[in-house]
C-alpha cells in the first residue's frame, strides 16, 4: 500500500510537471520561433516614368524604399539597373554582383556589365559571360502601368 501511494505521487509529479512545462513552453516556443513563418510583405514601388529609360542602354535608377522594420518605419536609398530594348518589356536588376555582392557597372564601350572585384562579366540580359559569378544577375519583378514603371522590391534569383 505504501509503495502504491509513492508510485501514484511519482506519476502525478511527472504528469502535472510535464503539463505545466508544456503549457509554458508551447507559447514560448511559438513566440521565439515566430520569425520562421513570418511573411515579408512588400508593396510595389514607383521607380520612374517608363519613357525616361533609354532603349538599349542600361540605366541606373535610384529610389527610396519605405518599409516596416519591426516597430519602426525606415527609409532606405536603393538603386537598380533598368534595361529595356523596346520601351515595353523591362528588366530590373539588383545592383550587386551574384558572386560576392560587389556593386557592378555598365561599360558603355564594351556593352557589358563588369564587376571590378573579381572580374565578373554579365551581358545586357544579365547572363554570365565570364568570371566567377555562379548565376545570372538577380532581378526585381516589374510592371508598367499608364507609362509608369513599378517594381516589387523582392529579389528573384537570377
Amino acid at each position: 500500500m505504501k509503495m502504491h501511494r509513492r508510485e501514484f505521487l511519482n506519476y502525478g509529479i511527472l504528469g502535472l510537471g510535464g503539463l505545466i512545462t508544456l503549457s509554458i513552453l508551447t507559447p514560448a516556443a511559438t513566440y521565439f520561433l515566430s520569425p520562421i513563418w513570418k511573411k515579408g510583405e512588400e508593396d510595389w514601388i514607383f521607380l520612374g516614368e517608363a519613357d525616361k529609360i533609354p532603349l538599349d542602354s542600361p540605366t541606373k535608377v535610384e529610389f527610396v524604399q519605405r518599409r516596416k522594420d519591426g516597430w519602426m518605419t525606415v527609409e532606405e536609398k536603393r538603386s537598380t539597373w533598368v534595361v529595356t530594348k523596346d520601351g515595353k518589356e523591362f528588366s530590373v536588376f539588383d545592383p550587386t554582383c551574384t558572386h560576392l555582392g560587389c556593386p557592378y557597372n555598365w561599360s558603355v564601350s564594351k556593352k557589358e556589365f563588369i564587376c571590378p572585384c573579381h572580374n565578373g562579366v554579365f551581358s545586357m540580359e544579365g547572363k554570365v559571360l565570364a568570371g566567377p559569378p555562379p548565376r545570372p544577375l538577380d532581378r526585381y519583378p516589374n510592371r508598367v502601368e499608364n507609362g509608369k514603371l513599378w517594381i516589387l522590391p523582392v529579389i528573384k534569383k537570377g
Binding site: G12, I13, L16, I20, I24, Y31, S34, F46, G70, W71
Partner: protein
C-alpha cells in the same frame, strides 16, 4: 558502467539526492497546503524569467521606440499578447503569493530562531520584487508608466538629506527621459534579477539547512524536539513535491486565465505635457498612494518615507522580539494583534485607493489617429498644407477639402495624386497601406469628419446655445466653446455631452444621451471639435 550512472557519479548525485530529495519533512498537517506558497512563488518567478527573456527580444528601451515596440509585441508577434499578459499578471501573482507566504510564516511563528536569517533575506526578497514591479511598469512608456514613475521618483526626492541626490541617481539625470528609461531597464533585467537570484539561492539554502519549521505546538506545551519530528516525517520527494506541483498548477492556471481573459493593458503613449492625466500606481503600491492622502503637506515625508522605512525595519527585526519557544498564534496575542491591524490597513488602503474616483475618463481612442498625427509631422505635410490657418499654402487647406472627399478618393490621391487631380503638385510618397489609413483617420479627426455644418449649427442652437457661446453667440451659463476643439477631441466631447457627470461630477449640465440620437451627438461633437 552505465553512462547515466557515470554522470550521476561525477556530480555526486547520491549526496544531492540524500540532502535534497530524501530529506525528511516534519509532518505539516493540518497546514500542509499553506506550506506550498513558497514553491508557488518560485514557480511564478521562473515564469517571469522566461517571459521576461522573450519580451526583451522585442523591446526597445528608448522613449522613441519603447511604446511602439510594446505595440509590436501585442499586435505583431505571435502570442506576444499572451506572453506579455503572463508577465503582467505574473508580477501581481508574485506579490500576492509573497505576501501570503510572509503571512503564513508570520502567523505560524516560523521566522523565530533558528530561522531568523531566512526571514530577513525573505524581507529583502520582497523589497527586490517591489523594485522589479516599480522599474517594470515604466518600460511600456505609456501615460501610466510615465506618471506613476514621476510620482515615485518625486517621493524619493522627499527623503531627508539625500532625497534630491537619490532622485537624480534614479532618473539618471535632471529629467525623466531617455536616461531614466534605459537605467530602469538595466535595473529591471540585470541588476535586480542578479540580486534576486543571489538572495533566492541563500533563502533556499537556509530552508534546506534548517529544515521546514514544524506546525506550531499548542500554547503552554513544551516545544517538541525538532529532530525527532523530522525523523518521524516523510521525505520531501515525492510527498511535499506532489502538493507543491498541484499548487503551482493551480496558480499558473489562474495566471494564464487572467492573461487570456483580461490581457495586458497599454494606455496612451507617455505625454509629459499632458496636465490632465491623473496617475495611479499599480495596485500593490496603492496602499502607499492612499496613505499619502491622509497626511497634510507638511508631514508628507512621514507618510512617504518615514513610515515605510519604519515598517521595513520592524519586519527585519521581528525575529528578535518575543520568546522563540512561543510559536502558536494564541500564545502571541500582541504580535497577532499588530499583524491583524497591518493586514487590515493594507487591504483597506488598497481598496480605498482602488475605488477613489478615477479622474481620467477612459475613452476608447483610435490609435490610428495618433499614428496619423505623427506621420503628418514626420512627412512635413504642414510645409504645403494648412489646417485652420496653420501651415503652408502651396496645397489646399485640408480642413476645407477633406470633409468633401470620400476615403477612397483620399486613398487614391495618396497613392497617385495625379490620377485623381491631373497636374497636381503633390509628390508620390510611396506610403505603406497602413500609413495611408492612419493619415486618413487623422485627417478625418481634424477635419471634424464628414459633417453637415448646417445641421450641427441647428443642433447647437436648439440644445446648447442657451448656456454656451460659440463665435460670440450664446449664453453665459456654461463655458465659451469657441475654441473647445483646441483642448478636447471629438470622442471626449461626445462622451461629455452624453453624460457630463461621468467625466466631471460637479457639472450642472444636463445629459443629452436620452434626448439626442447617437448620430446627432456625433455631428455635434465633430462640429465642436473643429472649433479651434
Amino acid at each position: 558502467m552505465h553512462p547515466l550512472k557515470w554522470v550521476q557519479d561525477r556530480f555526486g548525485w547520491n549526496n544531492i539526492k540524500e540532502a535534497l530529495l530524501d530529506r525528511k519533512i516534519p509532518n505539516p498537517k493540518p497546514w500542509s497546503w499553506f506550506y506550498t506558497l513558497g514553491s508557488a512563488t518560485l514557480a511564478v518567478l521562473l515564469v517571469q524569467v522566461a517571459t521576461g527573456m522573450l519580451l526583451a527580444m522585442n523591446y526597445s528601451p528608448s522613449p522613441d521606440h519603447a511604446y511602439d515596440s510594446i505595440l509590436y509585441i501585442m499586435n505583431q508577434v505571435p502570442l506576444g499578447w499572451f506572453i506579455r499578459g503572463l508577465h503582467d499578471w505574473g508580477a501581481s501573482a508574485m506579490i500576492v503569493l509573497m505576501l501570503l507566504h510572509l503571512l503564513r510564516i508570520f502567523v505560524m511563528g516560523s521566522y523565530k530562531a533558528p530561522r531568523e536569517m531566512t526571514w530577513i533575506i525573505g524581507i529583502f526578497l520582497l523589497l527586490v520584487v517591489f523594485g522589479l514591479g516599480f522599474t517594470g511598469y515604466l518600460l511600456p512608456w505609456d501615460q501610466k508608466a510615465y506618471w506613476a514613475t514621476a510620482v515615485g521618483v518625486n517621493i524619493a526626492e522627499q527623503a531627508p538629506f539625500l532625497g534630491p541626490l537619490i532622485a537624480k541617481v534614479l532618473k539618471g539625470g535632471g529629467e525623466l527621459g531617455a536616461l531614466t528609461l534605459s537605467r530602469f531597464y538595466s535595473f529591471h533585467v540585470l541588476v535586480l534579477p542578479a540580486l534576486l537570484a543571489l538572495l533566492m539561492a541563500l533563502h533556499l539554502y537556509l530552508v534546506v539547512y534548517h529544515g521546514i519549521s514544524a506546525p506550531p505546538h499548542p500554547k503552554g506545551k513544551e516545544p517538541p524536539d525538532y529532530q525527532k519530528l523530522k525523523g518521524e516525517g516523510k521525505s520531501f520527494y515525492p510527498h511535499s513535491v506532489f502538493k507543491d506541483i498541484v499548487a503551482v498548477a493551480i496558480v499558473l492556471g489562474i495566471v494564464s486565465f487572467l492573461a487570456i481573459y483580461f490581457g495586458s493593458h497599454l494606455g496612451d503613449p507617455a505625454d509629459p505635457n499632458d496636465s490632465s492625466y491623473n496617475p495611479r500606481p499599480e495596485w500593490y503600491f496603492l496602499f502607499l498612494f492612499q496613505m499619502l492622502k491622509l497626511f497634510p503637506g507638511s508631514l508628507e515625508t512621514v507618510a512617504a518615507i518615514i513610515l515605510p522605512t519604519v515598517g521595513v525595519i520592524v519586519l527585519l527585526l521581528l525575529p528578535f522580539f518575543g520568546s522563540p519557544a512561543e510559536r502558536h498564534p494564541t500564545a502571541r496575542p500582541f504580535s497577532m494583534g499588530i499583524g491583524l491591524v497591518a493586514v487590515t490597513l493594507f487591504i483597506w488602503f488598497t481598496y480605498e485607493g482602488w475605488r477613489s474616483p478615477l479622474l481620467n475618463p477612459r475613452i476608447a481612442r483610435n490609435p490610428m489617429i495618433l499614428e496619423g498625427k505623427i506621420l503628418y509631422t514626420n512627412l512635413k505635410c504642414a510645409y504645403c498644407h494648412s489646417m485652420k490657418g496653420e501651415g503652408g499654402n502651396i496645397g489646399p487647406d485640408l480642413a476645407a477639402t477633406i470633409p468633401i472627399r470620400s476615403d477612397k478618393w483620399i486613398e487614391n490621391h495618396f497613392r497617385k495624386p495625379q490620377s485623381v487631380i491631373p497636374g497636381s503638385k503633390m509628390p508620390e510618397l510611396n506610403l505603406l497601406d497602413e500609413e495611408i489609413y492612419a493619415l486618413i483617420a487623422y485627417l478625418r479627426d481634424i477635419g471634424g469628419g464628414g459633417v453637415s455644418v448646417v445641421k450641427a449649427e441647428k443642433l447647437f442652437q436648439e440644445n446648447c446655445q442657451t448656456c454656451h457661446k460659440v463665435d460670440g453667440k450664446g449664453g453665459d451659463m456654461g463655458p465659451d466653446l469657441s475654441h473647445i476643439g483646441a483642448f478636447r477631441e471629438t470622442s471626449w466631447i461626445k462622451a461629455y455631452t452624453e453624460n457630463p457627470q461621468a467625466l466631471n461630477p460637479d457639472s450642472v449640465m444636463p445629459e443629452f444621451k436620452s434626448s439626442l440620437t447617437p448620430e446627432d451627438l456625433e455631428t455635434l461633437a465633430r462640429w465642436l471639435s473643429s472649433k479651434k
